[in-house]
């Protein structure tokens, strides 16, 4: 029913089409951008996420028949990076959103359900996490655990769950007062079952919508971290990192500001479209789910 409505809404249809395109690219990545033969010969276990480089000079090279999107700084193939970066984007987005959402939901709902002093303490704990500067956290975590996408994800998860925790807590506080919860307690249902069966199904939806809308911003945040040198391993297919490779070429050559346009336009477009699709769907989704906004 929701999907039908999403399709009928023209704006969200655009979002769905773009997203579907990305999913297709992600699935077909090994076909679209296989590891070049000669590299595979040298290293049969080569990680496909590692972008092949075609030389060691840093100056980018424009698109050609061999490299349809050109080579970015360090002669890395932009097309390969974009295609495999799609998988990275989904991976990062889905993992960060689902894990932080899960943590937020557990902590927020339990805290609200138990209530009282416990709730107050947990909320102060949330405050502490919220006042911890995210950037510092990301830097410290990558120093402790090492550079790489996984650790960037851990950093993002650590400081994203608080938002979900707050959101669900508010909802649970409301639902907790409903009579069906009382009825379940009167029936002697255990607290865990009450939470799982009665409270969560009636509170989780807004959180999930929120989470789906965050998919996009997580990819942007990850790319900002790459800009600060905290993101994926260098040379790893990640859009944010590809943009940061373009960083010093954005201004082009003097007198020709478009000299290196391909280094920034392709990865930039990938990020913008990806985020846009999630936001369009999320926005429409919210309109649909919120009966107040109907008509």
């Amino acid at each position: 029913m929701i999907i039908k409505k999403l399709i009928r809404n023209r704006i969200s249809l655009i979002g769905l089409v773009i997203l579907f395109g990305f999913i297709l690219v992600a699935i077909l990545a090994p076909v679209l951008a296989p590891i070049p033969e000669e590299l595979l010969k040298m290293d049969p276990n080569r990680d496909p996420y590692r972008i092949p480089r075609y030389g060691f000079s840093s100056t980018p090279r424009p698109p050609s028949t061999e490299h349809p999107m050109g080579l970015t700084e360090g002669q890395l193939d932009i097309f390969h990076g974009i295609v495999w970066g799609t998988r990275t984007a989904f991976k990062v987005g889905l993992i960060v959103v689902s894990v932080s959402c899960l943590i937020g939901i557990i902590i927020g709902s339990v805290s609200a359900y138990i209530g009282g002093k416990f709730d107050e303490i947990v909320m102060r704990f949330v405050d502490i996490f919220m006042s911890f500067p995210f950037l510092i956290a990301a830097i410290v975590i990558t120093s402790v655990l090492g550079k790489g996408l996984r650790n960037v994800m851990i950093a993002m998860i650590l400081f994203r769950w608080t938002g979900y925790a707050r959101l669900i807590r508010g909802n649970v506080l409301q639902v907790k007062q409903d009579e069906y919860v009382m009825a379940a307690r009167a029936a002697g249902v255990s607290h865990i079952k009450i939470l799982l069966r009665h409270i969560l199904p009636n509170t989780i939806f807004p959180v999930i919508i929120q989470a789906s809308m965050n998919m996009g911003s997580i990819v942007v945040t990850a790319s900002s971290l790459s800009f600060l040198g905290l993101g994926a391993q260098e040379g790893y297919a990640d859009w944010g990192q590809m943009i940061s490779y373009a960083r010093n070429w954005i201004l082009g050559a003097p007198g020709n500001p478009m000299a290196y346009w391909y280094t920034v336009v392709y990865p930039g477009l990938a990020i913008v479209l990806f985020v846009l699709s999630w936001n369009l769907i999320g926005d429409a989704f919210r309109d649909i789910m919120d009966p107040k906004l109907q008509g």
Binding site: M42, F56, S57, S58, A253
Partner: protein, 628 residues
């Protein structure tokens, strides 16, 4: 609420429009159209240099980084300077004469050096320079000796040790103290007496008493070494620094950098005075010192700004807001041939970059780097690089030409040994490794009795992330070694600097990159760093290297310093170079050249590779050729 909102909107609009109109008027004011900006944005007496990385400190006893040296260079003078771009020929500055054996100022045994001091030189505050100031400068710097600072360069020639700690140990104290105040006062007094005796005033001259002959000593005192900047004793004492008292000096030993007197103050004899170090604004403002003894500089004001973002620096240069900027060598393509901008390239630099091998790699807690720790194709054994064949194979596998051409953008030359070609006694005509995959294969086949060739290995090659050139060097090595045998696996990984440093400190990196930029232009500075068992990097290279260095290099290096004639020195360095090749101690691959990026209106740029400053502002001026 609504009317407030409107007011805010109107306000915002007014601000925006006002700013726009103002900007327009300003650009008209200066009579310039946005086309490339033929005139500097600032007047001809103001110079703006946009660099990266702020100085650590302005105290010559502490400063050991190039950014600090850059500023100290402008504020102070030293006893000598190099003539033009020469590295050997010295001219007197605050000294009245350059000492030599010929003019009798250097004793026959080379251990006593007398330096007559120039008269009539004024400090920025008007005080006149005296020989006591010079004596004070060296003694004060030696008693301060901040950890990791440059003062070892005084200790080594004058007292034969590297640090204050070693000096205390030498006179009989324990070197195992945490606080200098715990050291027996008698020993402290003894230590002071030795420092005191090392530098003495004799009439109008200062006498340095060396522990042993030290050929590059005068270079250590020359311009380019910020540590030899001459201070004003009277002013220093007035500002709370050590007053020359032999018993209280411990109070000024190894202070925190921010507590040092000259941390953000300066009173030198240099051509520029410090007007402000605006740390919150990331800039330093220098003003011309009108009483400079060589005549006032052309420029009145110099702004050194620190901006990390390359794009911003680039745009500032293009618009004429900056007269010169720092740019990485890999972006020079964008700058060459730009109207109004000149790129001065291939400036000689006395430095090299090297890939060092760890002869004894620890296994415990290091599994993420050494893998299985065995020669089974999934890792490397602890003594991997102790096998000379492995080291030779690596050295033959690296593609030096390609690095120079593609990564270094052609700037510099391929290293042939540890002593840069620009210095005397280098290995430029000797035998050295070249890119030769056949030889590399041959050595790999010999390594570990052929086991390496059969089983292969897996090696993690770490670099500190953000350093693109080193990453690429690692990948060139990876590409070449992997192409020799598919069982050879090299995994290139970036690591954050803090973690990298920590790993390095634990000695757990199997191979690592190091650069060495000279302290003073002498072969000793390089062989000491790379080849001596007490050298700067030996600690990171494992016990295996230390043993090798002790057995093969230490004596040769010491002899080379004591050699009475240049010919004898040369012979000894030739032997050192030969052994370095024979043992394939490490993989030096480039001696990078330097470059400058400035506007064409900048005149008078000179270059001396010994200078820590990229620009000697005293020699610079701005002239706009076409003022029609």
């Amino acid at each position: 609420m609504n009317s407030k909102l409107k007011t805010l909107l109107v306000l915002a609009l007014v601000v925006a429009v006002g700013a726009g109109v103002y900007a327009y008027l300003r650009s008209r004011d200066q009579g310039e159209t946005p086309d490339e900006g033929q005139a500097p944005a600032t007047d001809l007496k103001t110079f703006v240099y946009v660099s990266i990385g702020e100085p650590d400190t302005l105290d010559p006893a502490y400063a050991y980084d190039t950014a600090s040296g850059e500023i100290i260079h402008q504020l102070y003078d030293t006893l000598f300077d190099y003539e033009g771009s020469s590295l050997e020929k010295l001219v007197p500055r605050l000294a009245a004469q350059v000492p030599s054996i010929e003019n009798g100022l250097i004793s026959e045994d080379g251990k006593t050096i007398k330096v007559p001091i120039r008269k009539g030189v004024k400090f920025h505050n008007g005080n006149e320079l005296t020989p006591e100031d010079v004596e004070y400068t060296f003694e004060r710097n030696m008693i301060s000796d901040p950890v990791g600072g440059p003062i070892w360069m005084f200790f080594e020639p004058l007292l034969g040790v590297q640090t204050m700690e070693q000096l205390i140990a030498m006179v009989g104290g324990s070197s195992d103290y945490t606080d200098i105040n715990d050291v027996d006062p008698a020993i402290r007094r003894q230590v002071f007496d030795m420092i005191d005796a090392a530098v003495e005033v004799e009439g109008d001259a200062v006498v340095f008493n060396l522990a042993a002959p030290y050929p590059p000593f005068l270079q250590i005192l020359a311009k380019g070494g910020s540590w030899s900047s001459i201070l004003d004793k009277e002013w220093m004492i007035a500002n709370g620094d050590w007053d020359g008292n032999p018993d209280t000096w411990a109070k000024w030993h190894d202070p925190a950098k921010e507590e040092m007197t000259l941390y953000e103050k300066a009173n030198g004899t240099g051509p520029f005075k410090l007007q402000a170090w605006d740390r919150s604004g990331g800039q330093i403002v220098l003003k011309r010192f009108d009483d400079y003894y060589r005549g006032p500089a052309e420029l009145e004001t110099v702004f050194v700004k620190y901006i990390e973002e390359y794009n911003t620096r680039l745009l500032m240069l293009q618009s004429g807001d900056a007269d010169a900027i720092y740019a990485d060598v890999q972006y020079l393509d964008q700058l060459r041939g730009v109207e109004g901008v000149k790129v001065v390239e291939n400036l000689e630099q006395i430095a090299n970059t090297t890939l060092l091998y760890n002869f004894t790699i620890p296994y415990e807690g290091n599994e993420d780097i050494v893998g299985s720790g065995q020669l089974d194709g999934n890792g490397i054994p602890s003594d991997f690089f102790s096998d000379i064949n492995i080291r030779r194979a690596f050295n033959y596998a690296f593609d030096y030409e390609r690095y120079l051409k593609e990564v270094a953008n052609g700037a510099g030359q391929i290293a042939k040994g540890f002593i840069p070609a620009a210095l005397p006694f280098s290995n430029k005509d000797g035998e050295w490794f070249t890119h030769d995959l056949e030889k590399a294969e041959q050595f790999f086949k010999q390594a570990f009795n052929g086991e390496v060739w059969d089983k292969g290995f897996k090696l993690t090659l770490l670099y500190n992330s953000g350093n693109n050139a080193r990453k690429t060097a690692a990948e060139i090595l990876e590409y070449n070694i992997e192409s020799i045998n598919p069982k050879f696996q090299i995994d290139v990984q970036g690591m954050q600097w803090a973690t990298y440093l920590s790993k390095l400190d634990q000695g757990s990196l199997p191979v690592f990159f190091m650069g060495w930029l000279m302290d003073f232009p002498d072969a000793h500075n390089f062989v000491d760093a790379y080849l001596r068992s007490t050298g700067a990097f030996a600690g990171y290279c494992g016990e295996g290297l230390v043993e090798l260095a002790r057995a093969e290099f230490d004596d040769l290096i010491a002899q080379a310093m004591q050699a009475p004639t240049t010919e004898q020195r040369e012979a000894l360095y030739r032997e050192i170079n030969r052994k370095a090749f024979e043992y394939a101690v490490a993989l030096p691959y480039i001696e990078p050249a330097d470059h400058r990026v400035m506007r064409t209106w900048v005149q008078g740029f000179t270059h001396n590779p010994a200078y820590s400053a990229k620009y000697d502002f005293y020699s610079l001026s701005k002239k706009v050729a076409d003022q029609s």
